[in-house]
């Protein structure tokens, strides 16, 4: 057996060790993504078709919008990211996944936590804090599940063959530590029987929201992109030092952002936040340089495959980061703060950047771990174009609506037409998400049928005569 065969056998073993955990994480994530987009459409419809579902108290805007956001982040982005991270750590370590049963159990805990949280918000038991709507019981389940998956990922990382760390390692390990830190801190200070009081509440909530949506998703998305892009284009990331610089500047400046300039808090808080927003230009420039130098001259067919997802996702991260940067500018923030512009940036970060990169990674990983082709290969390209169109039709109208609203003195009528267009964007995104769901579920079904057939064949196989004792 030559080294190449040995390597491919090893990779096949590594992929097989990730199969069940990844199916549990990705299957649930795809389902929550579809449901999240359905709730997002319901929430969006309330602005121009308020009579639809008006008789249903469970589906008021307050419920639907909160559930949509939570499902997109806690339901889809985090479990999908955890699955991708498990696989990347196993591959980079050239070792099989450690304790594979733990992430399987954790995935079920996670999805149960999301289900409990959604039920609580639907029945009006939301905590009332943005991005922390799930009640304590649900938050406990999510926290424990995350740590369990992370333990498996870190243990796999610990037994790596090569001791050198790659840029993906830095970003993904930081993400594994980041979420438990921010989530436990925010829940301990806000979602308890005795929360902190007064002005500290919104400040902690803004800190958490920004760290979850901007910093955590950026760590995960860039970590995944920095793994896949060099592999696809067939050249190393250029350069490691730029990546190190981007990593530290993102962590140093990104954590301070999030407090609106006009927030009714001590003036130094929004001032620091605005300065940090402007300083985000530094990590964004570093990421842009890395992408340009790595991708320029790459001879890869751009036909909607994983490469396209990664490239488009990375570009949308730069765009989302720039939108966050400009809100730090007082002249601009005076117009756009507390308008739809902020939502446009958040949704671009989730559905444009994180979702595209994670879906691209899922489409690349799934055939490897299952050892078979995707059931509907054409869906990959179709979903890419649907998602791109959906993001454009969803985010651009929201941003325009925000600017118009800000210029018209927060007149809600100024945004109505643009909100209607953004609902169309959500429909395209939902269509794309359905394609992902169909692919994953068809693949899971095929695998389970294969297992059943194998067990049936083993049970019904005739015994060899030499094994029969008279």
């Amino acid at each position: 057996m030559n080294p190449a065969d040995n390597n491919s056998v090893c990779s096949a073993k590594i992929d097989a060790s990730c199969r069940v955990p990844l199916l549990a994480l990705f299957g649930g994530a795809a389902l929550w993504l579809v449901l999240g987009l359905v709730f997002a459409i319901i929430a969006s419809l309330t602005f121009h078709q308020p009579e639809i579902l008006a008789h249903c108290p469970f589906l008021t805007y307050g419920h639907a919008a909160a559930i949509a956001n939570d499902l997109l982040v806690y339901g889809f982005a985090i479990p999908a990211a955890l699955g991708v991270m498990l696989w990347i750590f196993a591959r980079l370590s050239q070792a099989e996944l450690v304790l594979p049963i733990v992430p399987v159990a954790a995935a079920h805990f996670w999805h149960l936590g999301v289900l409990v949280g959604v039920g609580a918000v639907l029945t009006g038991h939301s905590s009332g804090y943005t991005w922390l709507e799930f009640p304590r019981a649900s938050a406990m389940l999510l926290g424990v599940a995350f740590v369990l998956v992370a333990v498996s990922a870190v243990a796999t990382f610990g037994q790596r063959q090569e001791r050198e760390l790659y840029p993906s390692h830095w970003f993904l390990l930081a993400a594994l530590l980041w979420f438990p830190w921010i989530y436990s801190t925010a829940n301990l200070f806000l979602v308890t029987t005795c929360p902190v009081r007064g002005v500290a509440q919104p400040v902690i909530n803004w800190w958490f929201s920004n760290n979850l949506i901007f910093v955590w998703l950026a760590l995960v998305g860039l970590g995944v992109a920095f793994y896949f892009l060099p592999k696809i284009v067939g050249q190393p990331l250029k350069s490691r030092f730029y990546a190190l610089f981007a990593f530290w500047t993102l962590i140093v400046f990104g954590t301070w952002v999030g407090i609106p300039a006009g927030a009714p808090v001590p003036a130094w808080l929004p001032a620091i936040s605005s300065v940090a927003s402007l300083l985000l230009v530094i990590p964004l420039t570093a990421v842009a340089v890395i992408l340009c130098r790595t991708l320029c001259g790459a001879k890869v067919a751009s036909l909607g495959g994983t490469y396209c997802y990664m490239r488009a996702g990375s570009f949308l991260f730069l765009l989302s980061g720039l939108m966050l940067c400009v809100t730090g500018c007082p002249q601009i923030s005076r117009v756009v703060e507390f308008t739809w512009f902020g939502q446009a940036q958040v949704q671009l970060q989730i559905l444009g950047f994180a979702a595209l990169i994670l879906i691209g990674a899922i489409y690349d990983i799934l055939p490897r771990v299952m050892g078979t082709e995707l059931p509907f290969k054409k869906f990959v390209n179709a979903q890419f174009y649907l998602s791109l169109l959906g993001v454009a039709l969803f985010v651009i109208p929201l941003a325009v609506a925000g600017v118009k609203q800000g210029r018209a003195g927060y007149d809600p009528a100024a945004a109505k037409l643009w909100l209607m267009i953004s609902t169309t964007g959500l429909l395209f995104l939902l269509l794309g998400a359905l394609l992902l769901l169909v692919n994953i579920f068809a693949m899971t079904l095929k695998w389970k049928l294969g297992l059943v057939k194998m067990v049936y064949a083993a049970v019904t196989a005739p015994l060899e005569t030499k094994e029969v004792k008279s």
Binding site: A95, E96, V151, F157, G158, Q159, P180, F189, V196
Partner: protein, 117 residues
């Protein structure tokens, strides 16, 4: 998996768990070390102080003797003393009635203007 790999894997997992426990512990210490006064603590203290002042004034008026209006002959007596005096006086009802009438007239009579010249 070799022993070295097992050691490295368990070491990394243990390190991660310790880091998470430290995060949570720091957040817990920060949370528990902050003891802001209750939302209604100041208001409750002011109300109980006012109640104590009112009670003290009422207790004083019920338990002590004092001259209220010297010219009209109005005095304040402790309840016990007043009850004993009333019981003694009303042993002779006609005299008590006459005394009551005289005191009532004195109490409502116009007060003589005091001249400082």
């Amino acid at each position: 998996m070799s022993l070295q790999q097992i050691n490295r894997a368990s070491g990394a997992a243990l390190g991660f768990i310790i880091a998470i426990v430290l995060f949570v512990a720091v957040a817990l210490v920060a949370k528990l070390s902050i003891h802001p006064p209750g939302l209604d603590a100041g208001r409750a203290a002011a109300r109980s102080q006012a109640l104590a002042e009112i009670s003290a004034v009422e207790e004083k008026s019920l338990e002590t003797a004092a001259v209220i209006d010297n010219q009209r002959g109005i005095v304040r007596l402790p309840i016990e003393t007043a009850m004993q005096l009333a019981a003694q006086q009303w042993a002779n009802p006609s005299a008590a009635r006459a005394d009551l009438k005289a005191r009532a007239e004195k109490a409502v009579a116009p007060v003589k203007a005091v001249s400082f010249e």
